[in-house]
Amino acid sequence: MIWNEYHECMDRQRLTELQGERLRDMVERIYFNVPFYRNKLQEMGIEPGDIRSIEDLKKLPFTTKQDLRDNYPFGLFAVPQHDVVRLHASSGTTGKSTVVGYTHNDILMWSEVVARSLTMAGVTRDDIIQVAYGYGLFTGGLGLHYGAEKVGASVIPISGGNTKKQLQLLEDFGSTAIACTPSYAAYLGEAIAEEKLDRSKIKLKAGIFGAEPWTEEMRTQIEQLLGLKAFDIYGLSEVIGPGVSMECGFQHGMHVFEDHFIPEIIDPETCEVLPYGTLGELVFTTVTKEAMPLLRYRTRDLTRLHVETCDCGRTLVRMEKCVGRSDDMLIIRGVNVFPSQVESVLLEMSETKPHYLLVVDRENNLDTLEIQVEVEEQFFSDEVKELEGLRKRISGNLTSLLGLHASVRLVEPGTIERSQGKAQRVVDKRKLK
């Protein structure tokens, strides 16, 4: 099943023409409505009329997460606030969130790409889908929700967590599809086994999993535990949210919805555009988005693009699972975490010095984050309650900034390795590669 055959199976020549038209229109919109882009383009001596086809994309400037931070909160919006109908945000690197806005049309476009994605996973109006991504500032829950409604499926907006309720609804409502992070899917699968639920009552046939890295081994494990076919969905809030690309039933990579998001692969050092099939950093230009169009946004995700037509008939390029990051961002339980966020919390607290180590692990399929902080002489108290209080304060501050529980472990001074130049701040024990 293909939701939008016209766009998903478009002749590539026609597709690049469409992308060129949309890019021209986008550059004009941001030139006249976003001072940040107008200044950048003027500095480079580019005027909207200079952009005529997709070939001209490489002349345009990049956008980085730092640009989003510098223009916090609404500086990159290309429409007046009264046209913005939704705001989402993800945690930022130094305390400030990355904010994204949507117009009514943006929500329709987002619903469209998620509807295409769900159709790839075989979800139709006859399905009951449990949306177990978090609802809220995070784009996962609401993104899947609107797309599933567009398909016409019966949507259960249960959000994340509350495992007992999830299992009960799986049984009682007979949910046929579920959308959540892959680690939560594995956790649910193990809970089913532990609670000795009647497997015949579990009707799941498709799982739409994303927002964090996962492996083929995890796919096999989840498929066995939940008795479904597991599909990989990719997205990031800066571009739209989930639904930037999605795996079809052939699972030869994720189809990028190129009529809306133009992908490029660049060398993260030289920023040179690399040919199809080469590993590099993924970059997106959002040609149709109205509220916050981004020009050549650097995702920092490392992957490859393949352009050969898929067995499913779609002509859209396929991206491989991301193999890493060109920065130090970690994805822990679907939440983006930068070591610099931890540093900013420690620097704000007078009792701590920014000597720390993030230890990421996966226990019972759930990611855990432990932050080791050195006890410095000046704040060392010989009373347990003082040190415990300090530990809880650090943990509380980190948890509220990261949006993710972080346990804190106090360690002796000098035990966290100091290195020349770039310090080793992260130990990731999860075996994902």
């Binding site: 006890v375 410095e376 002489e377 060392f380 108290s381 010989d382 009373e383 347990v384 040190l387 415990e388 530990r391 472990r409 106090l410 360690v411 002796e412 001074p413 000098g414 035990t415």
Partner: protein, 142 residues
Amino acid sequence: MIIRQLSVFLENRAGRLTELTGILADNDINISAFSIADTTDFGILRVITGKPELAEKVLKERGFAVKITEVIGIVMRNKPGALHHALQILTDNGISIEYMYAFASGDDRATAVIRTDTPQKAIEVLQLHEMELLQAGDVYQI
């Protein structure tokens, strides 16, 4: 009257305490009394030694987080009710104890080491009740 106690932060790591006692032994520093407060992740060693300044210096040199804490020592008869009597005096005077530990020396005497926020006041009320207090010179060379 004030006794200078060393407080040392210790990670719960095998051999870490042995390393510390080794450093004290190598520097000919005697341990008169000690206790350990432990949590799941770390412990705090409280130790009264001869030469507290030297002990602080050598431990810091070896990377330990060390702090000198002021405590008092109450010397009592080693018999039923003696500790209760001493604590009752502190309680009656509104002095609260952060932590304490005790050791017996010989057959008839015992010492309770007490950490309080108000050590001077504690000393005064205990002396008022003619309690014997541990002298710094009893445990370490000044």
